[in-house]
Amino acid sequence: MVNTWIAATLVAVIAGVVGFFVVLRGAAFVAHAIPHGAFGGAAGAVLIGVNPIAGLGVFAVGGALGIGWLGRRGRHDVATALALVLMLGLGALFLSFSVEYAAAIYSLLFGEVLGVPSDELLPIAGLGIACIAALAVLYRPLMLTSIAPEVAEARGVGAQRIETGFLLVVALAATMTVPVVGVLLMFSLMIGPAATAGSLTRSPRNAIALSVLLALATVWIAVAVSYLTNLPVGFFVGTLGAVSYGCARIWTARRRGRTAPA
């Protein structure tokens, strides 16, 4: 249980920070596709008897590079969709070969936050630090290419290199979080809190801080309730994300409605 709290907290911090950029860049599809597709790699790793994290890492990084490469030659969303289904199709193939699939697939897809072994904490923390470091380096060019692509181009910031870097950060985040919390939890945690924070504040620094806080609150509540009710943790995270965004939207709309006539 202690391991779960530590792992969930680490995951929430990373998801909150990376999620801010995902929402800013309108990259929700990629943020969904990379962790989800990486699931195929974990299935393959289980099949050949390697640590699932290695399979996840290979598929996540391969998927990120593949999406970047295909996206330059065609529509970006089409490239993302096709890369995702190819990785998942491979996952389906690997699953059909392995013997005990139903339980394994379920925990990979929807997480098993209540059973984190302590030897997985170190790699999770390491990947998390790598993620934050990469984002700290990329922070200024990422903001520039996200908000004012023309200015970035004029300043000689390579939009494509930044895009690839960003995809790799998402891949890193996916690798560290999927084995703990599952594809679903990871994606919901990146989108829900960041979207809520984005609709409440305009300043990027405040939005990142708020997004991390909301992600932490979401995960802690979800883990606690899941522990009490025995229902899957992914259900609570997904629902809480949508509910918090809905509340934020209603609140801002009412505030705007109150100030507008005055």
Binding site: R73, A81, L82, G89, S96, F97, A195, V237
Partner: protein, 313 residues
């Protein structure tokens, strides 16, 4: 000749009832998703299409829990999700992206809950795999009439709205100026897409349905620039991928590891991806050749070449 056929089609292929049903359902679904998918790709709604498929899996698992056919569950939730995406995602593309993501997250949460309840209430553990990854060979014969009817309705709606839909997909401003109800059409389109994705989810699985909705249309749009032609080409590519996938999956019972077929969804997805790459390579080569030809032609013209005096005249 007979031997060639035997190598291509494993014995018993043409006599098997499930294979017949799979061939018919696969072709019908591929035609519908091809037609609907061309608009999905033109409108840039691949994410919404994928989200509807995955959210639908919540409905599929809920229907399984209640003992109903998963198709109705898929469709009910997918249509509701389509409405929510349209409602939340105002007019800006980025808001739409986030709205789709939120609906997808919430839907996946419900799917987690229902799949968990499925697994605990019935002792069959394979439900998650069937709903998420599907199997064409497991499509029940009784569902055939409903699948064909739903497909026909979707195709008719697409045919009736074809001109309006195309105009609003290419330029919503122009369509609005011409008096096309863009908002209503957008919602109607998402509902049709929800139906098409649900049909695909029933056949190749909820999370792989995207392959049929996005792959063949994107391939077709690489090969032809005319939208009408793209609808036909997308349908044909989809049917080719599904049928080849069925043949390969049937044959794979004789491949290693022996006595265990490879999943048909995998073959369909792999073929769809392969077609997309090949189409890109073909158009790339054609474009390079065309530009080289025009380049050498202009060089000839510039050097005042006398080889073709008639050209200059």
């Amino acid at each position: 000749m007979n031997q060639v056929l035997r190598v291509l089609f494993a014995p018993g292929f043409f006599a098997s009832g499930p294979v017949h049903a799979a061939l018919v359902v696969g072709a019908v679904v591929a035609l519908v998703t091809g037609a609907v998918g061309v608009f999905t790709v033109i409108r840039g709604q691949a994410f919404a299409g994928h989200a509807l498929g995955e959210v639908g899996s919540a409905g599929g698992s809920a229907a399984f829990l209640g003992g109903a056919n998963p198709l109705w569950g898929f469709m009910g939730i997918a249509v509701v999700a389509a409405g929510l995406i349209e409602l939340l995602g105002l007019h800006r593309p980025r808001a739409r992206d986030v709205a789709t993501g939120l609906v997808l997250g919430a839907g996946l949460g419900l799917a987690a809950l229902f799949l968990y309840l499925d697994a605990t209430s019935s002792s069959t553990t394979g439900v998650a795999v069937t709903i998420l990854f599907g199997s064409l060979f497991a499509v029940s014969q009784q569902m055939l009439p409903s699948i064909v009817a739903l497909s026909a309705v979707s195709l008719v709606v697409i045919a009736v709205c074809y001109r309006m839909l195309l105009l609003s997909s290419l330029s919503s401003d122009l369509a609005a100026a011409r008096g096309v109800p863009v908002r209503a059409l957008g919602i109607a389109y998402l509902v049709i897409m929800a139906v098409a994705v649900s049909l695909a989810a029933e056949t190749i699985g909820a999370i792989l349905a995207t392959a049929l909705v996005v792959g063949p249309p994107a391939t077709a749009l690489r090969l032809t620039k005319r939208p009408g032609g793209a609808l036909v080409v997308a349908g044909l590519i989809g049917v080719a991928a599904v049928w080849l996938g069925i043949v390969l999956a049937y044959d794979s019972y004789y491949w290693p590891p022996a006595g265990h077929g490879w999943p048909v969804s995998f073959f369909v997805v792999a073929l769809v991806f392969l077609f997309y790459l090949v189409a890109g390579a073909v158009t790339g080569i054609a474009q390079a050749r065309r530009s080289r030809r025009s380049e050498s032609a202009s060089r000839l013209a510039a050097s005042g070449c006398a080889e073709h005096p008639g050209d200059a005249a």
